[in-house]
Amino acid sequence: MSVQLPSSMRPLALAAALLAGAAGVHAAEVSVAVAANFTAPMQKIAAAFEHDTGHKAQLAFGATGKFYAQIANGAPFQILLAADDATPSKLAREGLGDGATQFTYAIGQLALWSRQAGYVDDQGEVLKKIDWRHIAIANPRLAPYGAAAMQVLEQLKLVQQVQPRVVQGENIAQTWQFAASGNAELGFVALSQIMEDGKLREGSAWLVPASLHSPIRQDAIALKGAQGNTAADALLQYLRGDKARAIIRSYGYGF
């Protein structure tokens, strides 16, 4: 059965159908909680994602532990890009996330950094000199990069000497700020924070060998609210794609 519209209304109906179609295909939106160390690469990935798929990714940046508390209390995120693998696993166990979607989107690279050029040597010997006043480390209780930094100090048997000079950032972003403002001469930061387009942005750094700490596995997971959200599925897939991986690698992450 066909319904005849008055001819004057036909263009209107056509426009409405087009709009509805466009909304169904293109206007999906996904809200993503992103670990602070992944801020810069994720901004680039989100822009590429929007350009390539038409979906929109709303990003919130912060500490993984804080995101956990917010998600457990109903925060409207659909995806978590954590700084560790423990938090996504915990969310899956508690039924707050979909365990089947969990995967490692990046492996973090720890760096010892100073904003002064030529200050940090490429063997990390500056740690032993201790002619500096402060070293910024992310809170090891909260941040995987902080825990890794402490493992490095333990491996090098430097905990005793270094501990009195440690200042703790609440997360890796604040740790970088302590070092970037020059208040701490040294800082254990994420390589992604001091690198852009495959190069060190400023200062001097020692890329800490991965053998000195357990790997910083950063996992993604789709949260309960992601069900039926096409943009959420698309973003998780996009993160594994070549384009996203090239961006992630250019910030010094491994896989």
Partner: protein, 229 residues
């Protein structure tokens, strides 16, 4: 499960917080009194701008204050170069740095009640005292101070309580050093982020009770009917 009560590091944070709030309150009463007196009595055209600067911490996010203090007191800021030249070293990540940050952060909570109290006293009692031959300092100490006493009490209590609740400035300026810069609010935040909610509750619940008690005390100390016409 054993009942998780306060651990030694929680007590250290509490002690540090009380020390910080006491020193800050004392400093604010010393600095705030002449400033509030000037604001209450000056005919200067700078009264408006200075009053606005005093009120700024009321409207600025604490992270803004903390961020600029971190830059100002750092090795490249003139504040940091000044403290180094004076032999004080750099203030970020030290207790002294937190005192400076807290003074800025709690300034309006001391100055504004004092200013209102001095304004309420007015000029007349001072003029009468002058006629009776009292010298300027005597007029201030024996006439203005007793009359403005409720203002001093309010200023002290509010400065203390507001400093106890400080978080954003300390997060930016402190460095979370146990026994030196890790105050209660930061300790609570750490417990929450580490998902140790039981420990967080002990401190956070205590903070709620403390703040409530302070506000009740404040109402109780206000002279009854002071504001009825």
């Amino acid at each position: 499960m054993s009942l998780p009560v306060l651990a030694p590091d929680d007590w250290a944070a509490i002690g540090l917080t009380l020390r910080l709030a006491s020193i800050t309150t004392l400093a604010l009463l010393l600095l705030g009194t002449p400033l509030a007196w000037w604001l209450a009595h000056t005919p200067s055209r700078w009264r408006g701008p200075v009053g606005a600067v005093v009120a700024l911490p009321l409207v600025l996010p604490p992270t803004v204050i903390g961020f600029y203090l971190l830059l100002l007191l750092g090795p490249r800021g003139w504040g940091g170069q000044l403290t180094e030249a004076l032999g004080l070293g750099r203030l970020p990540f030290t207790f002294g740095g937190l005192v400076v940050g807290s003074i800025v952060y709690s300034l309006p909570f001391a100055v504004q009640p004092l200013q209102r109290a001095f304004e309420a006293v007015g000029r007349r009692p001072l003029e009468v005292a002058a006629c009776l031959g009292a010298a300027p300092l005597d007029r201030f100490v024996s006439v203005a101070l007793p009359l403005a006493l409720p203002g001093f009490v309010t200023a002290a209590v509010l400065s203390f309580a507001h400093t106890v609740g400080e978080f954003g400035v300390i997060l930016m300026l402190g460095g979370n050093i146990p026994g030196a810069t890790r105050v209660v609010s930061v300790q609570i935040y750490d417990h929450v982020e580490a998902m140790e909610y039981a420990r967080a509750h002990w401190l956070a619940g205590g903070m709620v009770l403390f703040s409530f008690a302070v506000l009740v005390l404040l109402q109780w100390l206000q002279p009854r009917g002071a504001h009825t016409p």
